[in-house]
Symmetry: C3
Subunit: 341 residues, 3 copies
């Protein structure tokens, strides 16, 4: 049993090597590096952002940043293949900087789910979960963007909502009554909270790149950058305000500052590339902050006690609820645009 | 009283939302992303650089990185409006990547002042200070760059000197004799010193972007990058040398390495975009290192004991003195250029 | 004796200032900033990546990130001069963003060697070692790339192998039997291991920029980015698999995850810009992971006990062996290409 993980991981890497040998080729049609800075920002978010965000638990610090790296490194290869199978030309998957951005995106779903099940799964389980989730994600993404022709530039629905509820479903399946008493592991220390801020800040700072990286035109890309920038700023001010409000002694809650400040990036994702007006961006960010703080304060304890869903990092409040808000905002914006025509 | 901060922060965000609704629009005249990597570097400096630089105090680690985030997120929205009012076209403020860089710049003044008053102010006081300082900064910047037509690409004077002396004035106002005994809070620990190095390094690394981001032509931008790169390198070698020299046992001082190594970026700011020759850049950097180390070693204790100015993070030595050196260097360079004509 | 370091460092900076005054000028022939994001990524690798990678030793945390900064800041000025002397035009060294990338590269050799001798050298010794190593590196690089016309875009041989074996030679010279008992300093703590992951991740994430920064054409640059991305991902999965395999209890080894995951970037360096096919990249990455893990597990203890070579950070396994693999891969690829013609 000791070798189970090693054998599985090596086997998967051999399969990947074989499939790469058969299917993967360079895409030489566009060799410009204009997307490269966007790719690097997303890359930092996936490995440093998600990795360090989960270091706040004092007992899982190293395993969260380590397993995060394992999932992401495996997932980006698997994602390249799964997404590539939907876009093959003459039987070949073509990789370039844009496909690398999409491969990184696909790992985000597994990493969000990892946040819900942190401390309850073994590395073997995480590898299997990653395979399943990225495979389903690639099919779902193809369905949404190609078949339904829906627009979701920042992937509020396809990544954030999908990853959050996938993770919550898994945590429900993994539920065992004994876990309720393991709460002492779910504590943070002074230094682990500062480590987590590294994750928070790199996610927060590079979120405009996440929401704009795959926008189709420069003007939409600039819109997405500007909207995400202001949405996150508004969300942060609201989060600090509400964090102090819901606390008994008026203190700031570290877990809220680490997480709810990011909800503005999720919520503005679906309509980020549209000309929604910076005013709408700060409104969406503010509402996202309110929803996320209330979710952490009231909903998470309820989910754990009533529904046996133990959401370790609170991904429901950071990705689930703000992602749904993003979907609704997208529908409203599109309806208003149609109206205006 | 417990709700004072929450009410103020929410009220300010509502005011911002209203003003955004009335005044702010996208600038669609230039949608190129050439400035975006520069923006992201500055963005990292503001949130990670300034935030972590102040984590060296063992008791203020989390509050410094957290409040830094609050000030910057609020400040960039306020700065957008204050700077925008001076550049309105047909009654509208136009935002794009360049205006986002300027909004980030405006928050730097408040963050520098925060370094001087760290540990002495409440979040409410910091919000009020940020409003005041960014408003005055926007007026002052307009006066210097538009009315006086002075060149200050790296903002040595308009940001660094302004922020430092504003903060010192506030710390003088906030002075209470009892604070003198609170020195035990002003200590660092082993780990808090390594956290602070994260801030130092990201400021140090991206300073070439700070000094070149708003340069008017590619050639001036490249000059600013090259000059800042070499100025900082020279400053660092000199700082290590003098740090060992002024220490009783010849040891390196962590506070000097964390702070004085950055003085070269401040000092070369005003004339960074000019063809001052790389030789001048290494000279300015070396002198900045000398001034900053001597300031930390001799001047800061004097200010505290004689003038009751307790400069928590030593912003006078990192931003004040090197900024003045930058202003002088700018005058000398311009005078020499005039002479040569 | 106390002033030895200060005097040497100041003297060196004065020499640099004089040489800059005589020789260094701006290169105004190409002022585009297309290489600037690549430069910034490399810059972060040198100062944050190498600096934090070595913080895992609990007693050398601050000195490793501090001395790393000193060596790099001094080295980039010295490297500018040493590399510049080989490419002078009309008696002048011309600096621009590309030469800054090369100056940063030259410091990497000294920083790799620093990893081998960490804890055994004084700052004075490190300055002298840096001068020697960068001078020899500049000559060797000129020989390899200009005289032998060899291609080594990611510098597997010229930087990684050279730096590793230079460091191992120095550590052999510095060997004293008493050092064997100082092993208690060579331990990590929980927090120091998380700090080291900051270094690992920034090296891992920006390695595609390292291997592509000086590629001659956009198409080769894109190749190098894609190949390095997949090589590192494959190497990481293999490292986790083998790390668990060689451990008695099947646990992941932190030192392996911090170091061997990076071997894929070194090994793919020499042939990264060629159209080796993504399949070859994942193969090279996987083999690099195997070699590096086996090196850490079997070879390092052997080197220490039999040959008196105490490789503090295991640079032989991270830079030496994977670099040699990179050289062999380069020869094989070139031979196959010749064959195919």
């Amino acid at each position: 049993m000791r070798f189970k993980f090693s054998i599985l991981a090596l086997l998967l890497e051999v399969i990947i090597i074989v499939l790469f040998g058969i299917f993967v080729e360079y895409d030489t049609s566009d060799v410009s590096q204009t997307l490269y800075p966007f790719f690097q920002d997303v890359h930092v978010m996936i490995f440093v952002g998600f990795g360090f965000l989960m270091t706040f638990l004092k007992k899982y610090g190293f395993s969260s940043v380590g397993i995060n790296m394992l999932i992401a490194a495996f997932g980006l290869q698997w994602g390249t293949l799964m997404q590539g199978f939907w876009h093959m030309e003459r039987g070949k998957i073509h990789v370039d900087i844009k496909s690398m951005i999409n491969a990184d995106f696909s790992t985000a779903t597994a990493l969000i789910s990892f946040g819900a099940v942190l401390g309850k799964t073994s590395p073997v389980q995480m590898l299997i979960l990653t395979i399943l989730e990225i495979t389903i994600f690639a099919c779902n993404e193809h369905l949404v963007t190609k078949t339904l022709q829906a627009t979701d530039v920042g992937a509020s629905m396809t990544i954030h909502v999908f990853g959050a509820y996938f993770g919550l479903a898994v945590t429900l399946v993994l539920y065992r009554p004994g876990l309720k008493n393991k709460h002492e592991n779910e504590e943070s220390t002074y230094h682990s909270d500062i480590f987590a801020m590294i994750g928070t800040l790199f996610l927060w700072l590079f979120w405009p790149s996440f929401n704009s990286a795959i926008a189709s035109e420069p003007i939409y890309q600039t819109n997405a950058i500007v909207n995400t920038y202001y949405s996150l700023a508004a969300c942060t001010v609201v989060t600090f305000a509400l964090s102090s409000l819901v606390d008994q002694r008026g203190k700031f809650s570290m877990v809220l500052i680490q997480n709810a400040t990011l909800a503005g990036g999720v919520a503005v994702g679906t309509c980020a590339d549209l000309s929604i007006h910076p005013f709408a961006a700060v409104c969406i960010g503010s509402i996202a902050g309110i929803i996320s703080v209330l979710g952490y304060h009231f909903l998470t304890p309820l989910l754990a006690s009533k529904l046996n869903i133990q959401d370790t990092c609170g991904v429901h409040n950071l990705h689930g609820l703000p992602g749904i808000l993003g979907g609704i905002a997208g529908i409203v914006v599109t309806a208003v645009k149609e109206e205006a025509r």
